[in-house]
């Protein structure tokens, strides 16, 4: 235990031990010092100059970047400090798009809040900056630079917590801004859509994309049958929007509210989570027992999947091929519901309510649609649904709870804990351990994988064999774990990765703010629900079993189950390569082809291949229909590098045998045939 020290704040003593700065100590003492750029889980930036206090004998100091010293005498509010804070806020507001009533963050905005607290009533300065366009390119997030106060929280969360750095400061002085590299659109850079930037943004500069209008459209359309699935993490956070404590399960009331809104049937994504466990645990047992690729990584989190596709394409074989619960639900719903509900497939609208912005991105991927119709039509966040309920004028607290609809509303506790970091692992273990040991699992709690530690590890003894597992959350932690695996420092069989700290419960679609204790309470809410559930193991979900019997080929891992519930991943390693255009077609619709050339190798066969592809394109008279680029890779390992991408199709470098140096050798490769085939197919699909 560290020594207890004391400071005096506004004449009252406050004790402290090892707080990292004066700000934390003063806040502990019950005084909410205003801040923009300070975030307890990020590095200290010290830019907003709002957290100023008077320190006796030292003058005015920023508390976020001052260490507490025993005996300090502090005034948090003097006329001078009040004026300074007020001017800072006034200057920020001068260049802020102040169309507050239409802002997504209205009433939940730190800038609005602080301006009100400080009594900023007039803004004496003229707006000097020109309004710039809002970036709507991402399916998950909107970026409105006109509302940015340059606090840098988004920049730091992206690089420190997620290890990505898709956005950063650019320019200088009055021209400074937060932007993706080269001011590109967010959709064109390495953003994985996790939305943690939006979760820490104090204003409305980065916000989850709003799809409420589309949902209302569907609900008001009499031809449509609209059903909805609710993700596990939503039920323990939605209440916060209506004044409940974090972690209170409001699933029942939510069902009632959704029915009032006009959703015909309300289902539980936890049902699909149970189904995910059937598939994923079966896949793991198969890999584990039959010498498959290990470690196996979970695939429920679309942000993690996109991250792996961009940064670790060579690990794609390690990713479970299972679709996420959202995608499984969509696939099954669109298959079985039209008949069960007596509507046409095209008139069935599947909505999902997710704690997550990346799920919006996942739902629009073409691989999760059939004949151009997505399996999940609309994805709403927890907050969006809160706003929809609000707009109905109903009070959540006064609603009588109702149960989810059957069959896809029935879930075990295993399906519910998916929303917390470690939950998928625990659910999978409840299934896999029982199956491998071939006897009933008595203690279903695997507490080693619970909690908020950044890396949770365990070694289990299953039927005499060691099973080594790990759970990480936050992609920077995942990056470290993968590096350790590569360096041979770690060795696991099964790894769960969730992009958001604490798992889905702190997804970017959840009510803001999400601090550490809020996370704990939400996770606790899920574990309590697990305990309260009749069944705790996915394999005991008889309605999932029945679904397999009737629609999915009988058993997990069957051919039909693979077709409906599994997926393939896209190698995105060309994203960062330097590129030069080689050919540009003139037709309106063109097929993009990119050939990777290794920049570290003098006579890379990629050059030859590029030449042969351009010749093939000319011979076939495709020139007008094609955009051909050369990409120059800086990757040191060839492993996982894309050789050629043709539209969505990819031929990996590994598909070509080594030592291909002449045109003749290349031409005789099977892979070259497949390149030609893909070009032909791609051209046909344009027409």
């Amino acid at each position: 235990m560290s020594e207890v020290k004391k400071i005096t704040v506004n004449g009252r003593e406050v004790s402290f031990t090892d707080e990292r700065n004066l700000l934390e100590v003063i806040r502990k003492g019950g005084i909410e010092i205003p801040t923009f750029c300070y975030h307890s889980e990020l590095s200290i930036y010290g830019a907003c100059r709002l957290c100023l206090v008077q320190v006796e004998g030292k003058g005015i100091m920023a508390t976020c970047s001052t260490r507490p010293e025993s005996g300090m005498v502090i005034q948090t509010d003097t006329r001078e400090i009040r004026e300074m804070r007020k001017i800072s806020v006034e200057l920020l507001l001068a260049n802020h798009n102040r169309e507050c009533p239409t802002c997504v963050r209205s009433s939940n905005c730190a800038l609005q809040d602080i301006a009100r607290r400080l009594g900023v009533e007039t803004i004496r300065f003229k707006q000097m900056e020109k309004m710039v366009d809002i970036d709507h390119s991402s399916p998950s997030l909107d970026r409105d630079p006109n509302k940015c106060v340059l606090c840098g929280d988004c920049v730091r969360v992206c690089s420190e917590i997620q290890g990505i750095g898709a956005i950063d400061f650019a320019g200088r002085g009055a021209n400074a801004k937060v932007a993706p590299a080269f001011d590109q659109n967010l959709a064109d850079v390495e953003c994985v859509n996790c939305g943690q930037c939006a979760a820490v943004c104090p204003t409305g500069a980065i916000t989850p994309r709003q799809d409420r209008a589309r949902a209302w459209e569907a609900l008001y359309d009499p031809r449509k049958t609209v059903v909805v699935q609710v993700a596990p993490a939503v039920r323990v956070a939605l209440g916060e929007y209506f004044g409940y404590d974090p972690g209170v399960n409001v699933a029942g009331k939510l069902v009632t509210a959704l029915k009032t809104m006009g959703f015909k049937y309300v289902y539980d994504t936890s049902f699909a989570a149970d189904m995910t466990i059937f598939e994923e645990a079966t896949e793991f047992i198969d890999r584990f027992s039959n010498g498959g690729v290990l470690p196996m990584f979970t695939s429920c989190c679309p942000a993690w999947i996109k991250y792996a596709e961009i940064y670790y394409p060579e690990m794609i074989p390690n990713l479970s091929s299972c679709r996420s619960p959202q995608a499984m639900f969509g696939s099954v719903a669109k298959k079985i519901l039209p008949e069960a509900l007596g509507c046409k497939r095209e008139d069935l609208v599947v909505v999902s309510i997710m704690p997550c912005t990346a799920k919006k991105y996942e739902a629009q991927l073409s691989k999760f649609s059939t004949n151009g119709q997505p399996d999940v039509d609309i994805v709403l966040t927890t907050v969006e649904v809160g706003r929809m309920i609000n707009s109905l004028g109903i009070h959540l607290s006064e609603l009588e709870p109702e149960a989810f609809d059957m069959p896809m509303g029935f879930a075990t506790g295993a399906g519910v804990i998916f929303g917390a970091s470690g939950g998928v692992m625990e659910a999978a273990l409840r299934y896999a351990v029982e199956k491998i040991e071939n006897k009933e699992l008595e203690n279903v709690d695997f507490k080693a994988v619970r909690g908020m530690d950044c890396l949770k590890e365990a070694v289990l003894n299953v039927a005499g064999q060691e099973v080594r597992i790990a759970v990480v959350h936050g992609l920077a932690n995942a990056k470290k774990l993968i590096q350790d695996i590569r360096d041979g420092k770690s060795n696991y069989h099964f790894v769960e990765v969730m992009a958001c700290p604490g798992g889905c419960i702190s997804g970017a679609g959840q009510p803001i703010p999400v601090e550490k204790d809020v996370r704990k309470l939400r996770a606790q809410g899920l574990y309590n629900s697990d305990k309260g559930q009749q069944l705790q193991k996915s394999q005991d979900n008889h309605l999932v079993t029945k679904c397999y019997e009737q629609h999915l080929g009988g058993t997990p891992g069957s051919h039909e189950a693979h077709h409906r519930l599994h997926t393939a991943y896209q190698n995105r390693s060309q994203l960062f390569d330097a590129k030069i255009p080689v050919m540009r077609g003139t037709a309106a619709k063109r097929l993009p082809i990119t050939v990777t050339i290794c920049a570290n190798q003098e006579n890379c066969p990629g050059q030859l291949l590029l030449g042969m592809i351009s010749k093939y394109v000319k011979d076939k008279n495709y020139t007008d229909l094609i955009d051909l680029d050369a990409a120059f890779s800086s990757r040191s390992e060839m492993d996982g590098t894309v050789c050629v991408s043709i539209g969505d199709r990819i031929v990996e470098r590994a598909d070509f045998t080594n030592a291909v140096n002449t045109e003749e050798q290349l031409r005789n490769q099977k892979s070259f045939e497949s390149v030609k085939g893909s070009i032909d197919k791609g051209i046909q699909s344009l027409k």
Binding site: I164, G165, A181, N600, F632, S634
Partner: protein, 170 residues
């Protein structure tokens, strides 16, 4: 096919030069600024491709490198001409009518505030804040050579001299 091969070969050679710079700096992300300086010395500016390439080779996010490249006035993301006129517009030079020189150069080279490089990529005209030679105001720096107490006519003559020398070379 021949043309394609030449284009890609040229790019590979460019990147090989960048690779050599990276190696010389031990692929050390802490040396990002010297690396960018050395790359710019070779190419006169930092192209998008080169920035991406440097970022990925150093395992630094591209947005971070872009941030550094846009923070310092020394770095240019636009191609520059073979000869660069840096015209000082610090307080002393401004008072001594540096703008007269600027407009003379603009007129001579058909440039303006938005277009600072000639189409033939021969000349770029830049305004800089202070060259620290206020005693010589107004100051023009052409490539590495400093000209003090410059006049519009002298600046135009400098352009003509460069053009004449280029003609002789040809």
């Amino acid at each position: 096919m021949q043309e394609t091969m030449e284009k890609t070969k040229a790019m590979v050679q460019h990147l090989a030069a960048v690779n050599r710079i990276l190696e010389k700096n031990n692929h050390d992300p802490a040396r990002l600024i010297p690396i960018l300086q050395q790359v710019q010395d070779v190419y006169k500016y930092l192209s998008k491709d080169v920035i991406s390439y440097v970022a990925n080779s150093l395992d630094v996010p591209v947005a971070r490198v872009y941030g550094v490249a846009t923070f310092y006035a020394h770095f240019s993301l636009n191609p520059k001409g073979k000869h660069i006129f840096r015209l000082c517009d610090g307080t002393a030079c401004h008072v001594k009518k540096s703008h007269g020189i600027l407009h003379a150069l603009y007129e001579k080279l058909k440039l303006n505030d938005d277009k600072r490089t000639t189409d033939d990529m021969m000349f770029t005209v830049e305004l800089v804040s202070c060259l620290g030679a206020c005693g010589l105001a107004p100051v023009v720096v052409v490539d590495e050579a400093v000209y003090g107490q410059a006049t519009p006519a002298q600046a135009v003559k400098l352009v003509d001299d460069i053009l004449a020398a280029a003609n002789v070379e040809e």
